[in-house]
Subunit: 271 residues, 2 copies
Amino acid sequence: MKRTVFFISDGTGLTAEAMGNSLLAQFEKIEFERVTVPYIDNHETAEAVVERINESARADGQRPLVFDTIVKSDIREIVSKANGFMVDIFGTFLNPLEQELQASSSYTVGKSHSIGNESTYEKRIHAVNFALDNDDGARTRHYDEADLILVGASRSGKTPTCLYLALQYGVKAANYPITEDDLDDQQLPEVLRPHREKIFGLTIEPERLSVIRNERRPNSRYSSMKQCMHEVEEIETMYRRERIPYLNTTAYSVEEISTRIMVTTGLKRLR
Amino acid sequence: MKRTVFFISDGTGLTAEAMGNSLLAQFEKIEFERVTVPYIDNHETAEAVVERINESARADGQRPLVFDTIVKSDIREIVSKANGFMVDIFGTFLNPLEQELQASSSYTVGKSHSIGNESTYEKRIHAVNFALDNDDGARTRHYDEADLILVGASRSGKTPTCLYLALQYGVKAANYPITEDDLDDQQLPEVLRPHREKIFGLTIEPERLSVIRNERRPNSRYSSMKQCMHEVEEIETMYRRERIPYLNTTAYSVEEISTRIMVTTGLKRLR
């Protein structure tokens, strides 16, 4: 059985999607057809959305689910007349929050993913550029500026994690690949030693690492099970010897890796 | 007046943050102190969070706001005993959804930002690698594989947008900087012509572009107001002549640029 789901917002729709999907994830046996309709911020676009929802209800023979994060009550009212099952975040929580905070909502549209605080936004973009410029050990001379230096075997997930940390949290993360040459003495590579307190290690199951490396360089020594096992073992030994905090990324998404790093290191999201 | 806010989750906390912040954005005059506590998935960690909330209530002389996305009702029940103002997403919406869907929640913890569908997750990571490998016109031979090719003046926001599109939507986006050399004949650069239907243009106010360029190369011809005005004018003329869809990014965040591109191009989020 397939149910259509609408995510409707006066902004990007990212919040409606995040909230809706976290609820829908609880119903694994139902197949959902998802439609995101962002930037619904006037009467005309709202009426058009009502039409789309109603049409979908007719086509499916069943009303769609509608997750909305529309701030303005007049727009929300129009959408609420559609033939859908409404999950209305602002309608449900804004009033109680006004009461609790003894303050009125400003009813400002599309705030949560806009530029907002300009200097914070610029710092996020700077953090992205920092991650790109300091990717893969390319440069080590900016490590003083880094909030975090991710280390680990080649293809253990360092680069996507650095980029996510930059985009989501504004964290300036460099990354340094630990190669065989670094492992001879089971110590932290020399270039990293002055920055010990910023270092976080990634590790990964050798089986998974071998699969990932095979995509880049099939049937090479680099991607062989033997080589992957050797590197992972040596690197984990080094982490333990040097008391570097580390995480096994095998079963984790980049979002999970990043939030776990934030918790472990105590780094703060930029505001 | 400062209010403490807790975002509590059995997963990453990203959904609780997104939803909470979209509501808090409506109260611009109140200063919020935000605390995210992810991975609360057993009785001990839940009890510890209750202690933290209660302590914060004592310290502030006012109960904190608590946004939670805890799936399991026994854990949620523990947290709900804290001295906080509870905004409980699953407690509020899961039951009505079960009714509407005629299905029981699976009460699976921390689903919404986990790896989930493995092949989808791998495609997102592939998309990140694609964006990195095809950044800044570095290579054009993979344009056949691209879902999207972003074009625009140097520093108009192409790279962060491509990375966000990859991480958030799994879209494989290359980017190509339009330089003065490309502008001589006011036509689409030759290397882009076979891929016309994948091209999306970015533009930006010359004043803003000049500020951004000055950070990279201060007082250069490249960052001069005259040069920025010239490039932007020529590029916009080319977009119009060639009927390339385009967006002025000056006032938009990377999230807004990305969602607007998704709407305009009709690209679909990977599932």
